[in-house]
């Protein structure tokens, strides 16, 4: 329930943000005005991104063919420290840095 309140609060902030333009506003309005399950779908999606960061360091795992392409282009390999991220994930389930 707490997350749902935070979600709506965030949407209202976005809605009132003049930089955000017409479609975003109307889109968020439609979510705010509806009682459907969009919130749940959004949370499922967000959790998936977060789990990817914990497991791979990135929200979009880098496929092997792109890793090879990066090598061919002479780009530096990316290394992620999952140990530190796992620790932060563990800690932030308990702590809060809400303003």
């Amino acid at each position: 329930m707490h997350q749902r309140k935070k979600f709506f609060k965030a949407l209202r902030n976005l809605k009132s943000d003049e930089i955000r333009t017409k479609p975003i506003s109307s889109f968020f309005s439609s979510i705010l005005d509806s009682e459907n399950l969009m919130f749940n779908e959004f949370v499922v999606y967000s959790r998936e991104l977060f789990n990817n960061i914990i497991d791979f360091g990135v929200t979009v795992p880098i496929p092997s063919y792109q890793i090879k392409k990066r090598e061919r282009l002479g780009l530096q390999p990316l290394n992620f420290d999952n140990k530190e991220i796992r620790k932060l994930a563990e800690l932030t389930k308990l702590g809060s840095v809400d303003q």
């Binding site: 997350q3 935070k6 979600f7 965030a10 930089i19 955000r20 333009t21 017409k22 479609p23 975003i24 889109f27 439609s30 979510i31 969009m38 779908e41 959004f42 949370v43 499922v44 999606y45 967000s46 959790r47 991104l49 977060f50 990817n52 960061i53 360091g57 990135v58 929200t59 979009v60 795992p61 880098i62 496929p63 792109q66 392409k69 990066r70 282009l73 002479g74 780009l75 530096q76 990316l78 290394n79 992620f80 420290d81 530190e84 991220i85 620790k87 932060l88 994930a89 800690l91 932030t92 389930k93 702590g95 809060s96 840095v97 809400d98 303003q99």
Partner: protein, 295 residues
């Protein structure tokens, strides 16, 4: 030679490695050196992550900034989404000692500390503000006359645009496009979001909005789309293919090629279309480029 800590961003590393390659190559040619920070992660993503777990969002973002701080370098990224996250986290923590203390309590557990001593810069800002359209135009060996681009800044860019451009009527990408010979067309839905974050929620709504936007661009005379954001690129490039497939609903659509600005800058500086990775896009651009004498 100016140095930056280079943050590729996961959308670029996983989908558009040539974009990362172009950022390094182009900035090197203007006398910049980019250093990869060790062990950084996703920025984290700026839309859904702070809603789901604000504490984790601040902590992971501050950790990335702390790694760049240890290098003693400002951070640069080609991804406006990453810059959105870093600016918001950096600015908020630097103005809120209580929050900064809480975040540092978390980082202390992994032997890190956020100080707030560096800035995050987008590639767009560096190209426009530091290098500038005039210097860029001096590097152009074949101006791209004949391209009529509809610019899509993307929502995340606006977090930073306010610091160096006009939020109501941004000029940076317009000026940079002119510098390489591109005509820019304006269209009514220029600031309309690509809505990539809404894909898992309402795909039909997302496609309807994209379809309207593409129609706006075409009516304004655009023959291509120009942007900086990898997420917007994925959404608009791939989205047009989906719209094409759903011909029964939308009718026949001739999709517009979608370019990253660094790709067209690379071509204008003499690189080939395969050098800049155009073969990796969904919407074909070969015919358009050949029509202006680029192969």
């Amino acid at each position: 030679m100016k140095e930056y800590a280079f943050f590729p961003g996961c959308a670029i590393a996983s989908r558009y490695p040539f974009y990362e390659f172009l950022v390094t190559k182009i900035l090197n040619s203007f006398g910049y050196s980019l250093k990869y920070p060790e062990s950084v992660t996703c920025c984290p993503e700026p839309v859904s992550m702070p809603i789901l777990n604000e504490a984790a969002w601040y902590a992971i973002g501050a950790r990335n900034l702390a790694i760049a701080e240890q290098m003693g370098l400002d951070l640069l990224s080609g991804c406006p989404g990453c810059i959105n996250t870093f600016l918001r986290i950096n600015n908020t923590l630097c103005s809120d000692e209580f929050l900064k203390g809480n975040v540092n309590n978390l980082l202390k557990q992994i032997d890190r500390k956020f100080e707030g001593t560096i800035k995050a810069w987008s590639l767009l800002r560096v190209l426009f503000e530091e290098i500038g359209p005039t210097t860029i135009s001096e590097k152009v060996s074949r101006p791209l006359h004949g391209l009529k681009a509809a610019i899509h800044y993307g929502c995340h860019s606006f977090e930073e645009l306010g610091e160096y451009d006009d939020l109501e009527n941004p000029q940076s990408l317009y000026e940079l496009s002119k510098a390489i010979g591109i005509d820019v067309v304006s269209y009514p839905s220029e600031k309309v979001c690509c809505l990539s974050f809404a894909n898992p929620i309402d795909r039909d709504y997302v496609l309807d909005i994209l379809y309207e936007k593409i129609q706006d661009m075409k009516k304004s005379g655009a023959n291509c789309i120009l942007l900086m954001c990898p997420t917007c690129h994925w959404q608009i490039d791939m989205g047009q293919i989906v719209i094409e497939i759903e011909e029964e609903k939308y009718g026949e659509l001739e999709p517009l090629p979608v370019f990253f600005y660094p790709q067209l800058l690379g071509i204008a500086m003499g690189m080939s279309s395969s050098d800049v990775g155009l073969q990796d896009h969904e919407v074909e651009s070969t015919d358009l480029l050949e029509s202006i004498g680029i192969s």
